[in-house]
Amino acid sequence: MMTAPQARPAVAPVTVTAPAPEPAPLLDVRGLTISYGNARGTLRAASDVGFAIRPGEVMGLVGESGSGKSTIAMAILDLLGGGGRVDSGEILFDGVDLRRLPAAERRALRGDRIAAVFQDPFTSLNPALTVGRQIAEPLIQHKSLSPRQAAARVLDLLAEVGIRDPRRVTAAYPHELSGGMQQRALIATALGCEPKLLILDEPTTALDVTVEARIIDLLAKLCDSHGLSALFVSHNLGIVNRICQTVTVLYGGLVVETGPTGRVLSRPAHPYSKGLVAALPRITAGRRHRLPSIPGTVAKLSGPPAACVFAPRCPFAEETCRSQPQAMLTDAAGDGVRCWKADALAGTPWPDEESAARKPAPQAPAQPTAPLVEVDHLRKVYGANRSILPWLRRAGTVAVEDVSFTVGRGEVVGVVGESGSGKSTIGRALLALTEPSAGTVLFDGTDLTRQVKQGDQDLRRRAQLVFQNSAASLNPRKTVGDAMDRPLVLAGRADAEERRKTVAGLLTRVGLPSAYADRYPHELSGGERQRVNIARALATDPDFVVCDEAVSALDVSVQANILNLLAELRDEMGLSYLFITHDIAVVSHIADRVLVVYGGTICEEGPTGRVLRPPYHPYTEALLSAVPRLAEDGQEAPRILLEDAAPTPGGQGCAFAARCPRKLGAICDEQAPPVHRADDGHRIACHIPLATLAERAAVFPELVGDAAH
């Protein structure tokens, strides 16, 4: 066992007598060490990991990507792939060490007594088989039901997971269902054989927030009613807070903290847990507020640690942290923390970014000047076909319907909406990457579409784009320097030496060493790659940058980092952003104004502070109420749960009518909603009178106290 420099237990050493007779854990993982080996060496994905889940308990396993949490889940299922192997340790399930069972017996347990739901519902169902058949498979395999009996059970299961038309869903193929429905089908599959343990690996990460809220509620309800235990792997502390009784925090393959969810999230003991909690973007109306972030990247071990694994990123690290490995300190209640300074640091929060307090908030840009981007009655229809063959003619799908807004100079406009809301199409139209079906986009007073058609490259130079997938937006065969050199060449910068200097300067600008110019994308972490993408977008000295879910794929710690960088660049270079995201909490940090889009239409628009406070559009209210929160952020208000229904863009009425919890009646389906406008540019498109909308309580009461707009 590793020793701490000063063996100072958090409260008292574990004594032999347990405080109270407890039921034996259902899953007891002890000393689990997992490594991935290839020709170039071994990587320790998990080192001496231990935790226990009692019957009926849901335990959260949290950490950044690369911390080893999914690896542990897969090891329990005996589904480690890609050269991974368990080196040592025990996985006791109901008292039996799974590692000692032959492979066939472990397989027989899977899907029967231990069931799993994975991250991405869109790819977890086989596209070639009907949903019903896939749900029935384990029933036939493990419970020896006949196909007919299994089919009947499938209908019950689908009804139990909240699917209203089970018959249609059984006969459907996966692509015919929405993401939420697919995830419900997967949960139904997992429940089929009435397992005792569920392994949930980021089960809601790929879903929209409103759908996520419903799935989490469903999972919590099912665990409760079936007395299920679950291992809930997640990077989202807000979600963990909602569903887990206990939490195990993982870093670099080591457990760094365990304890009851409420305690760990409100009073984290390990510096890493403090950092994770601090970096979580919360809803704030205070723009220009810098988020705390955890610098650096996740540790990768190849053998037993020689020092505290977190020390290189820890703001509290001392010399001893860097020379001695840390032992797990356990207190009387069984809470553990792997930090010898935990006691001393109790009550010390994660430090704010040093510049945050001192830097005076720059003034909001003066509004009266002409806006940089003006969007007027933008409409975009995809897939319209006027073929000569009559059976091919199609009206197409409306992606954006009559959208008008402006982006001022130096202004950050957030566009919030779920997948399919048309937010990315709006972004593409603003960069002339897609041609509007109707309406105009003016960039600095000139018609964008016409200018670009005439080959005006200057507009391309002045407006740039940063995508969500940092890896896919960089050519894997080109070095960072080459990738950034290209836009400079296209912008007509002839001198190679001067371009090289510019690239080095840009890399420094986004906080990367200039030597990174010679690296290839795969040698960088996700956060570093996104910095390169931002640097590349800045290469042509643009006025306007569209960030399309630019931070969505990043860990919270890194996300905070990139958001801070974007805010800094805006302040220093006077950039305007269109910040497209599904995460309203992220938008609240960076945007001056917010557009809430649904089904291709704007349902609410206004200064960020106004949009976050009542009166709300019913959809905004639902979005806000779906934001996962930590206990310390106040009492959880009852959430508004939306139906799983597709938006109806391009129709006569309100696009949100089909899912609206406050729908008035036929008028919502038949007539376009009127727009309530306020002087400060706040507008809400809804049939409900403004006074009635204003009566609703604030979803975030803590914001109401702030000075109104």
Binding site: A115, T123, E137
Partner: protein, 318 residues
Amino acid sequence: MLAYTLTRLVYLALVLAVMSVLIFLVTQAMPGDVASMIAGQFASKEVVDAIAVKLGLDQPLVVQYGQWAAGILRGDLGRSLVLEQPIAPILMEALARSLVLAVVALAVVAVVGIGLGVLAAVQRGKLTDQLVSGISYLGIAVPDFFWAIVLVLIFGSYMKLLPTGGYAPIADGFLPWASHLVLPVITLVLMLLARIARLTRSSMIDVLQTNYVKFARAKGMPESVVILRHALKNALLPTITVLAIDFGLILGGVVVIETIFSYPGMGRLLLFAIQRHDLPLIQATILVVSAAYCLANLTADLLYAYVNPKIRHGMKAA
């Protein structure tokens, strides 16, 4: 699905119409003059001209094409100049024999190739995988005529087990018919196997890494079910496309193999027509081969829809 098939048939007709124009123009540009060939080497100019008038060769090209195309639409492929017979029966007989060869060879390639590909993917990196790769590369690296000659030498000349060439109609009995097919089929299989096996292997490896395969394993499905029910159907898409292309290839493009085994299929018929400057026969043969190619590809696309319900769905919308 019906709308999709209809659309594809319309496109197919368009492609064949364009092909027919191209075929007609190319054959017209070939050296040699039909009328003088019929008249013979020593015929006078008057006789040649008379034949040309009789055949309509003095008409403008557009008119000639119109007459030819109209004939085809009526089912009249014209008369062979050299054989002095209607083309249709000759062509149909050769086509039937090529179809037999293609269907049998492709059936073997599909079963063996897909089987080996799946085996190699499942045993990825192990000895089986390397053996499959090695053998299939040997098949593709060595030219087909070499295999043909080796097979003829071993089974025909040396062991005297199988006929070294020719064709026996099935009316003569199953065994003689089948025995004539064995050597050409083996040669074709050796030639085509590697591509199918390699393709199936790589797409199977991709599919085995998908989330739905992982999820099927998490459901506790036995490995055989995971591979055959969950993975294989999805992995077959690229293989189907290549099989369709190979089908077209065997129908018209295996002249060498048909020649070595004296197999009277479309390839040899085309070669014969080209050597003898039999323009109507050349035109008709190429057109039929093109049509067969197009139909094979259409079948592949319809099979796609069968295998992949998402494509089926797209067709419904189309």
